[in-house]
Amino acid sequence: MGHDTSYTNQEFKVVGTRVKRPDGIDKVTGRARYGADAYAPGQLVGLFLRSPHAHARIKKIDTSRAEKLKGVKAIVTSADLPDLTDGNRGLLDILENCMARDRALYDGHAVAAVAAIDRQTAKKALKLIKVTYQVLPHVTDVDEAMKPDAPIVQDYVFTSGVDPKPTKPSNVSQINEFGHGDVDKGFAEADVIVEKSYKTEQTHQGYIEPHACLASVSPDGSGELWVTTQGHFGFRITCAQLLGMDMAKLKVTASEIGGGFGGKTHVWVEPVALALSRKANRPVKVVMDRDEVFKATGPTCSTSVDVKIGAKKDGTITAASAVLRYQNGAFPAIWGMLGAMTSFACYDLKNVKSVGYDVLCNRPKVAAYRAPSAPMAAFGVESTMDLVAEKIGMNPVDFRIKNAAKEGTLASYGPTYGPIGIGPTLDAVKNHPHMRARLGKNQGRGMACGFWFNFGGQTCTDLNIGIDGSVTLTVGTVDVGGSRASLCLIAAEELGIPYEQVKANVADTASLGHNDMTEGSRGTFSSGMATIFAAREAIEVMRSRAADMWEIPLDDVIWKDGQAKAVGKKHGNLPTLSLKEIAAKSPGTGGPIAGHSEVVADNAGVSFASHICDVEVDPETGATKVIRYTVVQDAGKAIHPDYVEGQFQGGAAQGIGWALNEEYIYGDDGRLQNAGFLDYRIPVCSDLPFIDTKILEIPNPTHPYGVRGVGETSIVPPLAAIGNAVSNAVGVRMDHIPMSPPRILKALEERNS
């Protein structure tokens, strides 16, 4: 059924208020159930054996001694996970990542799994499994991996996007180019040109809840999976395909999720947990350790980026180009392509070109991490923007304002923008009191802009009205940060009833049609849109019931403020019928009252943010402290402002950690040296100041309320904003993220020598 998604500029009664979230009490009392909080009768404990090598041929796996250990109920290797992918190489990659086949491709790659009656027994069994490896040469650095003599990670990968088609395998899986105009001509017209190279190290999403699931497969081929995930419908598809199960017979229930940020959009241990359960004929619970999370789930890319920007003395950019090399881990992906697409999206450029390389390394398969690929591209571009501004003697904010994209701009990645928020965020930065706060000794200020596409996607929602007039909203998008509150607000707004009268639930895969993952900042955007349409369908049912009860034509009934009203001279004296009254009569007027909506929520509405950051750098230790931070972002329409601010602050904090401390450190042996929260240090409470936020609302023309996704863009500007601030504080251009104390001290030493 088609629905009009156009923005209507309606007045809101409850949308935009700061109500209490419906899952709040469960979460402050310990009652909320996350991935590891489910138990089943007879459940076993599942543990994984993982490769200690970055790259090795698996010559033999001997499980015979482990199998004989009392209490061991199943052992699974790749032999138990036959290739059912029917030539779908992407699907086979997922299977191979879950369990190594003939080669271990990174430190931590799973090679076997055990299900036993308890943890102690499972641990003993892992020690009894003997794997014979032939260690192979490895590569973990993106630039090294592109060299002609680099060890090849996947010999089926031939670079796509080059002509003629290569004849030899390569670690570069694809090359993608975006842009328009003639950059050579543009650079020739420039008064100044700045060209600079940058590196960023690999970071992890760092969700506090490790991956966890409880899998149960019956001999009849049906199964259940309780799992922490950003998308249980997607998990169902992948698991069913990999294990040869009927999708309808695999019920996947999303637990409460303890953070995902993109990392829980992929399966890791889940297909193996199902395979263990199938083999043992018992439920199997798998909970990853933190070091497994670091080594064997999907961090984001490390990158190497070259940026060149040319401008006239008046500040007009004449040309911009970038080459972006993104390390994807051991399996081909699209992260370099996304980096190239996002790199110059903030600006209105006549001549622009960006080329993205996707590169394989012997590191874990990269997964999405909040606006994936955009922060690293923005670090290169926004650092270079500051350098150009400095060279032409222009204020960096004014320089960006002069070149900012606007409605009608042809974006560097292809589309033409509708109404967008980059200009307004920059104006807000220019006028923000933060920009006038006084800086002290060893302090510096920086700002930067960021862009993210946002995504809509497949969404299916039910709305049922009980005979007491309470409303059950059933959604299929996992609530990662308070979306149930926002969706209840939207349902209440449409129906004209109090927020407290609506209860939102996240349904399992057996109870609702397909919903795409909660990714691309789509949760509130797309399920919000589906909720609006489901509520409007329910209103149509209630109008019709009221018309029948009054015995008047349907056209003479309107819905206003939660009530059916008869209009027209003939019926003006009829008393209104409230939602509650219509619901109470529903068993006798046609049965249950419900609304339903399936949508592909297209045109999610691009998102822009500008951040300001002040830092203080200790010249003795090289340690940097963020002393002030301001986020300005366009939300389209903030449904629940608290949780919009929360997204802004959370993204900024993750960006601060990435900019200053967080990095995967690999030894020459290709092993990850800091797979724990002690040595991979994410920001703690005492590291950060209050993070100031300013919500702008430039309506998305293709959402009835004007909503844009808000979850991801806030992580895009911080690397560059902090990079610019640190560079201004120390007087040296920082070009390598994270700007950890050793790197800052080295930069200071080089300046002084």
Binding site: I25, I208, Q649, I682, C685, S686
Partner: protein, 159 residues
């Protein structure tokens, strides 16, 4: 499993459980006593999600053995509310939107209560350092600190 019988008081109730000698108190509380409000984020004492008090002292239950709890008093998040009445910290975490995913929330609440029991009027800096052993990846801590400040103010008024 060579189990050891452990007798404890948990949230005011006498509780006995049997556990292997090498099992963490975190695992005992979750898997044997059913207190799954105590969360595991790291298992190495770095994230604070498993924070409890042991004889009134704030500890990471992943760094304590189950057998060490014998004869001692434990409080967990499940014991923080007074019946149906939420503790002011719990109430303020909800009203200040101090949680997003909520996995770290039990640990933060337990740690914040230990702070406010000791220091009813902490500065922002004291709050930040008292909670520095608890990792949150969603909020940037802003609304957590504000919730603790608001709860402290409310608790001072009540006294």
């Amino acid at each position: 499993m060579a189990g050891v019988l452990v007798s404890t008081t948990i949230n005011g109730d006498a509780v006995d459980f049997a556990c292997p000698q090498d099992e963490t108190l975190l695992d005992s509380l979750r898997d044997r006593v059913g207190l799954t409000g105590v969360k595991e984020g790291c298992g190495t004492g770095d994230c604070g999600a498993c924070s409890i008090t042991l004889d009134g002292r704030l500890v990471c239950s992943c760094l304590v053995l189950g057998v060490e709890a014998n004869g001692r008093e434990i409080t967990t998040i499940e014991g923080m509310a007074d019946g149906n009445k939420l503790h002011p910290l719990q109430e303020n975490f909800i009203t200040h939107a101090a949680l997003q995913c909520g996995i770290c929330t039990p640990g933060f609440l337990v740690a914040a209560k230990v702070l406010l029991d000791r220091n009813p009027n902490p500065t922002e800096e004291e709050i930040r350092y008292a909670l520095a052993g608890n990792l949150c990846r969603c909020t940037g801590y802003d609304k957590i600190v504000r919730a603790v400040q608001a709860a402290a103010k409310e608790m001072r008024k009540r006294k």
